[in-house]
Structure formats: C-alpha cells, structure tokens
Amino acid sequence: MANLKTAEKKTKAQSMGMHTEVLTGKTQQKFFNPDEAENFFYWGTHDVDFNKRTELDVKDLDCKQANEKIDILMSEGYGTIVIKNPQGKHSLGVGILNKLNLIFEGSLGYFGVGAIDGPIVTVKGRVGWSCAENMMAGKVVIEKNAGSCFGAAIRGGDLICKGSVGARTGIDQKGGSIIVGGDAGAFTGFMMQRGRIVILGDVGINLGDSMYDGTIYVGGKIGSFGSDAVESPITKSDIDWLTRKLKVAEIGSNVDLSKMTKVVAGKKLWNYDALEPTERKGAI
C-alpha cells in the first residue's frame, strides 16, 4: 500500500522507473571574456592564403588518402586547391574547418564535403547522396545535379545546386540556406527545424512533411503538401532576402519572386512540451 501511495505522487514516467534525472535546465553555461584577441580560425586549424594555389590529382588515392593530402596542403598555407579526377569517390573534402577555396573538377560520390565549417567549395560535376550533410558554415556550389538527402541536417551556410536534386532535400535541416535551380524530389524539407530552402523549379509530393520551423520557397508546381506544412503569404522581407541570396547563388535572376509559394510549419505538431519524457520518446 505504501508503495502505491508513493507512486501516486510520481509522474507516470517516474513510477515506471524510466525517469530519474532532475531537470535543472542549465547545462554548459559559459561566460564570455571581452578581452579575447581577434582571430578568424579555430584552434588546431589552418590560416590559409586564397592566393596560394595548387592542384591535387586524386585518381590513384582513396578517400582517406585524398582528405589527408588536402589537410597537408592546408597546413602548408594553400588557400586554393583544385582537385583533379575525383571520379565519383565518396566522402571527399569532409571535415574542413577553416576557410578554403576548394574546386572539384569532376563529380563526387556519397557524403561529399560533409561536416565542413567555412570553406567555399565548387563541384563542376554531379554529387551523390547526402552532399554537405551536417555542413556548419561556408558556401558549396554544385554545377550539375545532386542525389537524395542533399544538405541533410545542415546547420549553417549556403548550399547551392544549379541543377535538380533528389528526394528528402534538407531533411532535418537546422539552419542555413539550400538553393536549388532546378526541380526537387519528394519529401523536400522533411522534418526541417530551421533555415530556408529555395526551389526554383517544381517539387514532388509531401513538401515540408512534419516540419517544425523554417521556410521553403517554391517557384514551380508542388506535388503535394506534407503533414503540417502550410502556405503563407510572401512578404517584402522575403523578396529582399531571396533577391540577395539568389545573387549570392548566381542563379534565378529572371525569376518573378513575387509569384513564388512560401511554405511554413502549421505548428500543429508543436505539442512536445506537454509530454512526459517517455511519451516524447514515442512521439519522436
């Protein structure tokens, strides 16, 4: 009986023994020191010079060797690196955390330029799945088409594809901008939480499915809206932003921006706060 009485006071999750931690909130609060010196690169990365240029032929290298070679070149101060013969190799140019002008003269395979934080990348061919996944900052320009999950979970920066992209573009996007000159596949902006996606062409079915926040702009036809994705009126600040970003992307100069469709979250899925942690687990 005593146990029952105690259990009554507890929440459902606690009585199930699945929730014992105390929600104190503050986790890693830090205090900024205003006397920090001006510095434009992370500790352990390289301060390179854009005017120092070199070429790297990766025809006979595997992806690990090629990425190590890029790192060595950056440590020598090379700020412009041209990669010859990438030949669709996977995971090339990943984890670059400093400024760099990286040019691929060819196509990339899966997970190209993932987890980058700062560089300006140009791919003169196509890219496979999950290009620039987890990108933090910088600018990536794909001259031709891209595969599925383009910009998966990106957190910042500008990701541009001048051609068309596959399904689930910007899946789980948490920031930054994805700009597509052509068409996009199904589930574009699936579960996106923040940031902006611009599709100048048509998009497939279930656009913005289960999106939590963020904005999607579409220039062409929409296959169908996903769960909780709703149309919103386009404002002057939207047009100003689009004008500026498309100039950065160097595409869409002839597009009538006022006729674009703006899609946002209907916010009907914003109900996690009311849930117990165990229930939340199930909902996600």
């Binding site: 992370y42 400024k99 002008n101």
Partner: protein, 136 residues
C-alpha cells in the same frame, strides 16, 4: 483636506519579442533558459548594422554575406543576455560591463561578433576536448 492620489501611469516600455527583456513563459522559468524557437528565428539581419569586426570576418572568409551567422540571435540565460554556442552546446553569457542597445538588430550583430570571438578563442571549451581526443 485629504490630497487626492494621482494615478500615475507606469512608464515601463513593453518591448515585444525583444530577447532578454521579454517575459519568459512558465516552461522557460522552470528550466531556467530560453526555449530556442520561441523568438523569431526567421528575423533577417539588417546589413546596415554590421560591425567593423563582422565586415572584416566576412572579407577574411571570402563569403558574400553573414553566411551561418544569419541564424545567430541574442537570447537570454537566467535573465541575462546570452548567445547560444552550437559548438559547445551551451549558452555564452554576455558580461555585465558590455552595454547592449535596445534594438534587436544591433543586439544580434553584437551576439554574432562575440560568438565568433569566443569560438575562435584558445579558451574555448572545445580546445581541451580536441587536445584530449584529436586523432589526426
């Protein structure tokens, strides 16, 4: 004769949506920090308000605009202005001696500048982690 009490109107300015000044929700009070998406995450930066440091940073990186910093805003942590550092996954509190302007656009620019300085600092918490776990 008793003096009539004058009902003076309180001259407290209500600043709608201004971070660090807005009234937090019960949920935010309970956990003691901003719930990130409660402010306008889609607020676009006013480029006229760029600080000299940010101009220099953009030029150094070779970008055309603020890039990832467009998504950075001034929030608050325990009633003090703070900026969220995604690398450390925590709030960086702005020191009291830095006087912040009332305009949200100006505050955001300061938040961006302070965040860049903090992230690039050798005192950043990730530096110790890198020293301990760096593999190559």
């Amino acid at each position: 004769m008793a003096k009539k009490k004058k009902n003076k109107k309180k001259s407290i300015k209500e600043v709608k949506g201004q971070l660090g000044k807005k009234k937090e929700t019960a949920r935010e009070k309970m956990i003691g920090q901003t719930i990130g998406y409660r402010y306008d995450v889609n607020l676009l930066p006013d480029y006229k308000k760029l600080t000299p440091f940010l101009k220099k940073y953009i030029e150094h990186m070779g970008w055309d605009d603020l890039n990832w910093l467009e998504d950075v805003h001034m929030g608050y942590e325990e009633d003090r202005p703070a900026v969220f550092d995604r690398n450390a996954n925590g709030w960086v509190t702005i020191p009291k001696k830095i006087k912040l302007p009332d305009n949200q656009q100006d505050r955001d620019m300061i938040a961006r500048e302070l965040l860049v300085k903090f992230q690039m600092s050798p005192n950043h918490p990730l530096v110790d982690l890198k020293k301990a776990y760096l593999k190559f």
